[in-house]
Every structure is written in structure tokens, then in C-alpha cells.
């Protein structure tokens, strides 16, 4: 193929120089090559990047439902002072329950400072608090919807509307993967029967990118990955014999078609499948960890065991070169997730309890194994919560105007705080960070230029960041 299309032509065809990023799929879309030629390139092969890669892998700890910034990482002494006062000029349509607008409510939790950075952390995160000097906090995040599913789509795909590729899909499309034996992009959802995040699989969908770039959802019950177990009464020897004859006959067929390199790719895909059968169960088997490690993550502690196991799997995936891992804490909505409408202390207390120790252990573990430098860990949800109380309880309604994200490892500056909300933490006011900005920054850390990572569909070059996005250089080391 390289005989016929020069690198220069390729650059042009890609609308401005993104190298061989997702070469095959891109060419297919533009009709530059026949389908048979497309398949010559492995869509998951490791690809060239726009920048040096700082984060080889990403673990996104997704606090589903919308964690409250003022009760977690965005300490606001003024909130306590104004507790019980009406918030003047508040637009009652800001949250979801427009008829339940109450006065300003202080946090039920105590805060204190940690680390050399002196970062304020809520008492519900004693373990994560030990790692604040590894984290870069963004306090000025905002999004565009006050409703779970549009906000979930926004934070995952950059668009409020359904149908666009998720961040994980873009990253794997852009970078490929370093372990062909495992899925490149993995999603884990709540294993306690509390449901999927709203919008379901769209949150890790590939949108209009080739569907192979969608996240592989590890089913919380039963076999986590489809078709890994040999079916029928075949054993491994019998399968091997089948594969050997298959290869033999396929090679006979291919002899007359040397130009059709996709045939060879396909022959190899069976060998790869054979290896995946062994590699994936091994990667998922946390019983291979030492008892100290299991204990450190919280395996054995009923309160947080489920999330601990997922964090451990994530680390094992990272070790094996998986590109992008997303873990959802909590299920669909309300009491099943971080969606603390009725009681912040009860709701956030519970979900902090489920996640704090596993996340603390994960950061510690990655650091000790020397993986943190090349692994970007992201913490956050789809939006923040209001600084006022939701009438009828002691909870808070949705707030698209302020949310806190933190990132650690993977090339972020350690122990910094970027942006700020107003004095009661209700609206991002200083160095506001849009979802597009956040995505641009994450892509940059992965070595991808958000302006150049494009995919052409129906005549338009689409980007994760649409027509916006600014890299937050201040938090990059």
C-alpha cells in the first residue's frame, strides 16, 4: 500500500497531518482504498502520536450520578456562614427538581488539609486524602446539561446528544493498543445490581467510529467477556486441531491471492483469538494477587469489595498494556448512585465508603510499581451539585455550573489546584474549564492533538472537541 500512497498524500487526505492514525478506517471512509486493502492495517496496531505520550493508559474512575464538589474536594468556609440563607438570584430551573429550591446548605462533612500542597479534603476520603500531592485538581469544571443522560453523554463524548464516540473510543482509535490479546478499551459497571449509568452503553460507544473502538463492557455477572470459553464439548486440543487445519486450508486459498493481505490478517486473527482465550482470564484473575495487595484494596471488606476488585482488575489491565479503562461507581440514579437528592451525608457517605480505600490503594499500588507516571487516573462524574438544599431533605440537586475533577499520574502536575468556584462553590468562576477543555487536556496527555484527531463522516471531519477545546497547560507537568 505504501507503494501507492505516499506519506505526504496521506497527510493531506487526513486534513492536516495526523500521521498514520487509524489509517485503515480513515481511508475506508474516504473511499481511498478498497475494503480489501483496508484490512491490511490492523486497526488496533500501535500508532504514531502527535506528541510524546505521557499517559500510556488511562483509568477513569467515574463517580456516576454527580458527586457534590462542596462536600468532597472544593472546601468553602463561606458555605457554613451562609447556611440557611436564601440564595438570591438563583434560577429555579438550574437543577432537576425545579419546585424544590431550598436555602444554602453547609456541608455535613468536616474538612482538613492534607499533604505538602495543603489540599482541603472532606472527611469521607481519608485514604484518597493521603495522595493529594499526586493530584491535579480542576475546581472550575462545568457542563451543559442538568440532566443525567445528556450530561453523561457530554462528559463521555463531548456532545449532549446521543451518538458520538466516547473519549475511550477516540483514544484507542488514535493510539491503538499495546496488547493485542486484550480489549483496548474496557468498561466496568456496578456489580451490585444497581444498574448501568443512564444512556447505558452509549456512554462507552464508538458512535460513528468503527464499532471495534467501542468499550468492551465487562459483564458484572457471568463471563465478563463474550465468547472466551470454548463452546460445545470441544476441548483445547480439539480446538487447536481445528485451528491447524483451518490455517492450512486458508493458506492454500491465499496462495493464489498474495495481494490480498487482509486474508493473512484474518488468518492471524484466529491465532490472536486463541491467545486471548488464555490471556483475558489471566488478566481478570485477581486471585493471583498477594493477600497483602487484596487486603490493601479492600477485598474482603464487604463495604467496598466490589469496587476494590474492579480497581485491581484495572491495575492488572494497565500492567498488560490495555489503553483505556473506565469504572463506574454506582448504578442508575438516586440512591443507587452518587445522585444525592435526599441526603448528602447518607448518600455520599455510602459511596465514599465504597470507593475511598480501593482508589487510595490503586494510587499507592500504581506508584509503587512505577506505573503511575505512565497511567493517567481521572476522578469525576457527569456534573456537580448545588450549594443549596433540595427541599424536602438534606440532599442537593444537579448542578451543571460547577464540578471538581482530579487527575493523577500520566504526566499531570502533582499537587496543584486549577480554577475556582464562587465563594459558596455553586458556579465555576475562575479559569472555567469546559468538558471540551478537559477532553483536549486528556488527549494531550495521551499524545494526541485534539485538533488533529479527526474522523470524516458524511462530509465532515469530526473531533472529540467539536469546534472548541483548550488544553489546560497549567496542570501538565
Amino acid at each position: 500500500m505504501t507503494e501507492f500512497i505516499t506519506r505526504r498524500q496521506l497527510l493531506r487526505s487526513c486534513g492536516g497531518g495526523m500521521g498514520s492514525v487509524a489509517l485503515s478506517a480513515l481511508l475506508a471512509d474516504q473511499g481511498l482504498l478498497s475494503n480489501s486493502a483496508i484490512a491490511e492495517g490492523n486497526p488496533f496496531s500501535t500508532k504514531q502520536q502527535h506528541f510524546p505520550v505521557k499517559a500510556k493508559s488511562v483509568i477513569w474512575l467515574f463517580m456516576n450520578g454527580g458527586p457534590s464538589q462542596v462536600d468532597t474536594w472544593d472546601y468553602k468556609p463561606e458555605l457554613e456562614k451562609h447556611d440557611g440563607q436564601e440564595l438570591e438570584g438563583f434560577d429555579k430551573n438550574t437543577g432537576f427538581f425545579t419546585g424544590n429550591v431550598g436555602p444554602i446548605m453547609k456541608s455535613p462533612f468536616k474538612f482538613r488539609q492534607y499533604g505538602e500542597s495543603g489540599s482541603w479534603v472532606s472527611e469521607i476520603f481519608p485514604q484518597m486524602a493521603r495522595h493529594v500531592d499526586k493530584m491535579a485538581f480542576i475546581h472550575s469544571g462545568y457542563t451543559e446539561s442538568n440532566n443525567h443522560s445528556p450530561a453523561l453523554f457530554m462528559i463521555n463524548t463531548g456532545m449532549k446528544r446521543m451518538g458520538f464516540p466516547s473519549l475511550g473510543s477516540w483514544v484507542t482509535y488514535g493510539l491503538g493498543t499495546e496488547n493485542q490479546n486484550l480489549p483496548a478499551f474496557v468498561t466496568m459497571s456496578d456489580p451490585l445490581n444497581r444498574g448501568l449509568p443512564k444512556g447505558y452503553a452509549q456512554n462507552w460507544g464508538a458512535g460513528f467510529l468503527p464499532s471495534i473502538y467501542q468499550g468492551t463492557w465487562f459483564k458484572p455477572q457471568g463471563d465478563p467477556i463474550d465468547n472466551l470459553k470454548i463452546s460445545g464439548d470441544k476441548n483445547i486440543t480439539q480446538q487447536r486441531a481445528l485451528l491447524d487445519t483451518l490455517k492450512d486450508l486458508n493458506q492454500d486459498h491465499q496462495k493464489n491471492r498474495p495481494e490480498q493481505r487482509d486474508l493473512e490478517t484474518r488468518i492471524n486473527s484466529f491465532e490472536l483469538a486463541y491467545r486471548m482465550q488464555q490471556a483475558a482470564p489471566e488478566a481478570l484473575d485477581i486471585q493471583r494477587e498477594t493477600s497483602e495487595t487484596l487486603k490493601a484494596y479492600g477485598v474482603g471488606d464487604k463495604k467496598c469489595e466490589h469496587f476494590a476488585k474492579q480497581c485491581l482488575v484495572a491495575r492488572r489491565m494497565v500492567e498488560r498494556g490495555v489503553r483505556f479503562i473506565q469504572i463506574y461507581s454506582g448504578g442508575t440514579e438516586n440512591a443507587r448512585s452518587w445522585d444525592g437528592h435526599t441526603s448528602i451525608s447518607k448518600n455520599h457517605g455510602q459511596f465514599a465508603g465504597e470507593t475511598d480505600q480501593p482508589i487510595g490503594a490503586l494510587l499507592q499500588d500504581l506508584d509503587q510499581r512505577g506505573l503511575l507516571d505512565s497511567t493517567l487516573v481521572i476522578w469525576g462524574g457527569e456534573f456537580g451539585r448545588l450549594s443549596i438544599v433540595q427541599k424536602g431533605g438534606t440532599g442537593r440537586d444537579h448542578n451543571p455550573h460547577a464540578m471538581t475533577y482530579w487527575m493523577a499520574g500520566g504526566g499531570v502536575k502533582a499537587g496543584v489546584h486549577y480554577g475556582a468556584t464562587d465563594e459558596i462553590g455553586n458556579v465555576a468562576v475562575e479559569n472555567r474549564v469546559s468538558v471540551n477543555d478537559l477532553h483536549a487536556t486528556i488527549l494531550q496527555l495521551c499524545g494526541l492533538d485534539h485538533l488533529k484527531l479527526t474522523y470524516r463522516l458524511n462530509g465532515r471531519d469530526f473531533r472529540l472537541t467539536d469546534v472548541a477545546g483548550k488544553v489546560i497547560k497549567e496542570i501538565i507537568a
Partner: protein
Amino acid sequence: MFKSYLISGVLCIISLVPLHGQPPEQTDPAHAARMAKSLHLFKSSVRQALTSHCVKCHGGKKTEGEFNITTRKLFLLGGASGDSFTVGKAQESYLADMLYHRIEPAMPMNSGKLSDTLVAAILKWIDLGAAFDRPLLDMNEPADAWTRRRISQEQKDYWAFKSLQQTAFSQDLHPDPQNPIDHFIAAGIDSQQLRFSQPAKTNTLVRRIFLDTLGMPPTGSQLTELLSYPQDQIINRTIEHVLASPHYGERWARHWLDVARFAESHGFEQDYDRPFAFHYRDFVIKALNQDMSYDQFTRWQLAGDELAPENPLAMMATGFLGAGVFPTQITANEVESSRYDALDDMAATTGTAMLALTIGCARCHDHKFDPIPAADYYRFTSTFTTAVRSNQPIVMNASNLDAQQAHFTLEHQPYIDAVKNYEQTKLRSAFEEWSQTPQAKEPPGWFTLKFFDVQSEKGSNIQRQADQSFKVQSDTAPPQDAFTFEFHSHQRNLQALRIEAFADPTLKAGGPGLAVNGNFQLTDIHVAKAPLSTPNVLTDLEFSSARATFNQNENSLHVRTVIDKDKKSGWAVDPQFGKDHAVIVTFAEPLDDPQGHRLRITVAFNGNTKHIMGRFRISVSSDPDNPLLGDTISEEVLVALAKSPQDRTAEDLQAAVDWYRTKDEGWKALEAKRQEHLKSAPAAKTETVMIVSEGVTPIRHHTQGKDFFEEMHFLKRGDVQQKVGRASQGFLQVLSPEQDSIDRWSQAPQTGSKTSNRRTALANWMVDHRQGAGNLLARVMVNRLWHHHFGRGLVASTNDFGNQGQPPSHPDLLDWLANQLIKNDWKLKYIHQLILSSYTYQQSSDYRKADALQDPDNQYLWRFRPRRLEGEALRDSILNVTGQLDSRMFGAGTLDESMRRRSIYFTIKRSKLIPMLQVFDVPEPLVSQGQRPTTIVAPQALLLLNNIHIRKYCEDGAKQFLKESQDLTSLVTQLYQRTLSRQPTLSETAKSLAFLQQQTQSYTDSGSNTPEEAAFADLFQLVICLNEFCYIY
């Protein structure tokens, strides 16, 4: 396209140098001519390019590199520094290098390179003097000027917007083309010094035509039959066969469903099902199979409800507009923007699917590459303003129901006549005879009263039946109701009243009540009486006791509560549903006025929801001990029977005979025959269908606001907060005559019509190949057909015929085919037939190095391009070759992966796409998709190796196979024939047999009870994994 952001972070960092030289002297005699040419270029393409790609950063929102291009004077000043261009030598300039992307910064920055033609035009324009007719930006433009923006005539000068060229084709014969398609292809092949390939082998070609056109290989017997024809007929027979096969519609409907972003759920948060959306899929299959003209196919999808509301297919077709996603939970401040998103989905999909134009890109600004102003977007989109999804009952056999019913009426008349004839002759004498018997002297103890009126307190629909019972219409009944009847009686000594409640198989649990479980609760009976001598002096009748067939309990649901003072408690019969029940209340004192009585009887059902009797009858008796479920007669007949025959009036006799006939065997036999025949009466077959229409009840979501708005507005930057006046309907200027009026396509709605006929106007414009979009419509469709037959369209970008798409590789052929489509009544099968019978299509797929070097991409079609089967075709083929295909068509689909119907009958639920299809590149149904990528990844291999369903097909197929013969060699031959449409080679047979032997031994060793079956299942599975099985050659 989707958001209201300004471009930020997309900066054109350019530092231009001052002009190297000055413009040519004004005295140059050729100057005027050059400037005129330059101006022509400016108007035809350069202005549009500069406006779309350059001026924003160079004189618009900013002036990068101090290079302002808004006027000629400023343009010629150049930028801040350096050497950018010289008039007369623009091709060699720094500017040219940037525009050609030969150096950095490449221009335009971050938005794709301009076409070489366009760059050449710009440079030429400079060389000719850089003429402007007016500045690029008018700073004094009013804020709403964009809503009136007109495109220039020059902007229509683009291949896709032009009328179809009546192309003549070369008469040279290459190599022996019978088919005009080959003339066009031969011209290209000649021009590139390429050669056509040899024809493909016959069985390869038969297999190709099957896989391509039906999505499955021929079965063994189909192949044998076709190959038995004389050699020169085989292919034509094959083409005839596939185009007549119902599998054709199933195969090609799937291609269109990608384009229509079809799915059967709403998407978003809950992804609720659209259980009646599958009718659209069935419409597409049926339309293709019956070779519906493509213009009608198009029109019905846009406005079938307006154009042919009586035709169920036309109604089903409107599902096209409603197939997109829509949020199910919408907060107050997202109501309006969600509706605009829904309208955008309809407009954008219509534009892409039918015209391959990205109309949706003009939502926030004028289209960046194509001449579609944002004004056009809003006017076009306003077509759909009041169109909503709705689930409607549709009579599926409406088209011939009237004729069938008329025919039946004629057929039925003799049965009626026979009954009537009998009644007027034999029945009377039979009655006279019977009335002399002792039974006639003992009429039933219960009789119904002379009826005058019934009133429902809450407005139920209650109707008196022939047997004197009263029926309450179930679906419109209120939760509670009470009925008041007016009766008269001339009988004496009335002592009890009975209410019978009748079972009814059409009610839940068979009734007798209308409640969801079949229950009722009779809360009160009240009787007001008056002697007929003083009918207005009503007094209450007292009851002494009550009894019933069954009591639900001994307390609040016992029959005694009917006559107590508590109006809420009452008699009920759970769980004895599906049978008749009755209550008898005994009067405290007999009614015995010789003048007769007026009785006003109120029956109340004030208990739980719809705990109302579905059909009940009121009768009275002089003996309270008469049986609860005993026979009933009417007072009228009772009186008639009591008379001696000579005293009976004609009315008495009629009433008595009418009552008597149900006891007469002769009458019963005739009536039974009539009833039996009536069962064959043609009935309307009604099904619920999800349609899109206007004036119908929209499918309601969790919305904190309206479902739709009556008016559409121009939105600045697509933002609902920035409305700029109302948008009235219009179509694309670029595909309309100069004088833009939509009147020529509009039809006033009929009086009383619920719809606006705006979509009818759109449909008319869309198919109008003289004044409207019809030419492009035809081009786009023939290109889609070409794309699926050859793996690549004549225009490779099947969903984008605009400037960002690919130009046609064979423009003359494209136009010729489009012309053929229109001339042949828009029949798609005609085009398929043309393509399939062309030499071009029938070439071998063999590779030749020399030609491949010249045309590596096979753009000129010097061979057939091999390609892998899509996910659906692969699965369907596996089902077919293993003999496991369930070929039932149509109807609701399923998510159950063990289904064995064709893949098109899987339900498409957006959050639960079928994994085995997804892994083979089946796209997410979110926006229109014209082409699918083909990827090769390990999960596909895992699926074929390990999926339990695939394995089961192979096992079941192997079992059936092994029954056919004991001879393994012959079985291997058959297997090859059936799966690969050819005989195995000697080596393949040997390897297959060795494999069978090895696996049989291995399964025996591992303790299998059926080692031969397992081994053969393995061979089956091996063959379906072969590359040869998965590719079209």
C-alpha cells in the same frame, strides 16, 4: 453543526510578507479583459472559498498576520512581512505553497485543504488581477440578513446540482460489451491502458450474485438446478432467480436501514422500546420486493400519511422520519432545544439519505463547503415542524377490504333468506303446535319488564341487547358508574328482582366485570315505585333479603351489603370469573297494583376502578325462590302466551314466535348455518403502527414541557435563545429554480385534514427531476446500488455528494444510470438487472500485477473487487448452509440471539445491539450511514470459534448431514458444494477426511457419546471460518 460555539483555538498563524511587486499598469489594453475574467472567477468560486475558509481570521473576527482580505485594496497590500505573492506569478508564491499544503502553516488552518481546482482558481484569479465585485464582509449587514441569504447562480455550477447529462457512450466494443455500462467502463479502462479481466468462473459468478443480491450463497439444490441450464443461460437464470426471490428485499432493506438510521428504541436515558416501529422495516422489505418505484418509495417515507393514508404501506413508510433518537427525559430548559434536535434529525437524515447532502451542517452557520445557507436549513427543516411520532391503529388489509366485504354480503344473503323463509312458513305452525303442549302453560319464572329508558350517571356507553340485557362498552367506561332504568309492568304480585351478570370471553378473565381481573362490585340496588295511575308519586321499595350465586367474602363483599345502607360496600365474586352470576333481592312487600307499576331501578357500581358489570339483565318474578340462573322471558311474551290463540294480536304472535324460535330445532339448524358462514366474513385486520404524522397524539416522554411547537424559528448559531423571526417552508435554493417559490410543489390540504401538507410539498420537490431535486435523488440512489454491488460507489462517498465528498469516478455513467432509473419508472430492479448482467460485474476477481500497479485501487474496474461479507450476511449464510435458517418473514423482531430467522429480524434496541453483529462492524443506528467499515479483529474469530449459537448451528447441521449418507467422502463433497458452491479439490478432500478422522478419535478419547457428530460439527465450523466462505469473489 451541532453547537453554538465560536471557533476558538483554531488560529490561523500566518505571517505574510509585503507584496513583491505592484499590480500591472492600468494602461495595459488586455487589463479590462483580464479583470473581467478575474471577476468571473471571483463570483463563481473564489468569493465562496475566501468567505468560507479565510476571511474569518483575515479581516473578520481577527486579522491574523495583519493580512486583511476583505477588500481588493487590503488584499493586495498583503500581510505584515515577507514575500507572499506576486500578481502574475501566484503559482510560485509562498501563498500557493501554503494553500497546496507544501509548507507549514498549511492554509486554511485546521479545516482541510481546499481542492486543487479551487486553489488553482484562486491563484489564477490573483494573476488576472484579483478582482472584487464588492467587499467580502459587509459590516453594516442587519442581524437577520442571514435569514434571507441567496446563493448565486455560479454556486449551482457543480456536478451534483446540474441536470443529468444525456451522455452518449462510446461504441467501441471492449471486449464484447452487450451492456451500455461496459461502454462507459471500457472508456476508462482504455484511457488508463488497463485491460478487462476474463469472465469469472460460472459457479463463482452464481455464488457472487447470490451473496451480493440475497446475502446468502445458493443452496446445494439451487446451485445444481441453475448449473443444469445451458451454459449461455445460467447467469441470466441466476439473475432472474435472485431478483424474484423474497430474500432480495431482506438483503437490500438492510442496506437502506443503515441509511435510515433505523432502530426500535428511543435511545438516551431509558432507551424505551418502540414496539411498533418494526413496521417500517417491513415496509422497506415489501417495497423492494414488489419493486416499488423509487420516487414513490421516497415520497411515502416523507409524507405517506398525507399522500395515501388509506394504504397501510404508505403509513408504515413514515416510520423513516421517526426512526431517530429522542430523549425520554427532558428537563424544562431543554424542552425546546430537544425538539429542534428532533427536527434536525429528520431534516439531516432526509438530506443525507435521499440527496447525499449534509444539510444538517448548516444548522449553526452557512454550510462551510456546500451552497446551503443556514437560511435554507431552517426553511427546509420547518417542513417537519408539527410532525410527531405516534402509535396508531392501522387497518392492514384496508386496500381490498371493501370489495371483499361487498362480495361476502352477496354470498351471505341466501343464508339470511333461508332463515327468514323458515320463520314465515314452518316456524309459525311449529309454534302453534307447541303452544298446545303442557310446557307452553308453564313459562319461565323470571321475566323482563317493558323498557323505556336508561341513564348513565358518569357517561358510560350502555346498549340494550336482543336478549334484553344491557352491555357497557369496556374501553370507554369510567372508573365508577350507576345506571338508572325506567320500566313498566302490568303484572301483579311482583315479589323479587334479579340481576344476572354474564360472562364474556372478550373481557379479562372472561368477566363478568370490566375490572382488570374480571371482577365487579355491585354496591347498591335502589328501586322507586309508583302505581301507573299516579306515575309521579314515587316511593322507595324496601328489600327483605338478598342471595347470590357466590360471595367473595362474608363481610364487605357479601351480597347482603347490596341492600344495606352503606353505598360503598357491595357484592363481588373474585375468583369465580368467566361464568355467569346473579343476585336476587326479595321485596319486603309484593307489588300488586291492578293498574300496573312504574319502576325506576338504579344499579350502582361505586367500588374499585371499573368494577362494573360488562353485560347484565334485570328481571322480576312473583316467586323469590325461583332459581338464580333460571330461564327468562319478556313480559310481552308472557302476556302473549297467556292468551288463547284466537285472542292473540299480530304483535302478540310475532313476539311469541320470536321468543319461541330458540326452542325450535329447524330454526336453530338454519340459524347455526348462517352464523357459521358469518364467521368467514372479511374483517379489518388492525395493527398498531408507529407512524409520523400531524394532528395525532404524540408518543409522550418524561417531558417537563410540550412535545412540539407550532412554529419554527430561525436560530442564530442554532441556539434556541437566539430566535430571529419565523421560518416559513422552503427547500434548497441550489436545487430549485431561480424564482424561489414552493407553490409549484404545494397542494392545499383537504378540508378537515389534520396535516399541513408541508411534507407532501417536500416529497413533490424531492422527486421532481425537472425543477426540483429529482436528478440528484436518482444519482444518489443508483450510486448506492453500485456501491453495494461493487463494494464502492461511482461516488465513493455515498452519503456526501457535496464538495467534501469524492467526485464521481465515471460521471457520465452515473448520469446515464440515473437517467435510466427515471426513464424506467424509477424501478430499482431494472438497474440491478443492468448492473448484474454487465461484463464489468461479471469479470473475474483475479489479481494482475501490471494493472494493479497502474490502478491499485481498481478505480477503473479492471477486475471485480473481492470483499468480505457484512455481519448479517455472514450470519445468514451460516444459518443457510447449516440448514438452520427459519425463513419466516416480517413481524416483530427479537433480541434473543438464538433466533434463527434472518438477521434483519433482530430487534434493534439502541442500548442492546446484537453482539454477534456488532463485532462485525454493524454500525450504531444513530445517524445515517452509507458505508460500513470492514475491520478484522480477534473478537470476530472468537465469535466464530466459541459462540454457543454458532456452535449449535454447526452441531444441528452436522446431525442432519450425517443422516444423508454414510460415505464421508461424499459428505465432504456435499459440504463444499453447499458452503463454498464448488467441489473440493483432491487435497481438500484428503485434508477434510484426515481432520474428521482425527477429531472423531479425539472425541472418542475424551468420552463423547457422539464423536462422529462432534467431529463433523467441527468440520462445519472450520469451513464457515474459512476466508473463502466469508468473502465475495
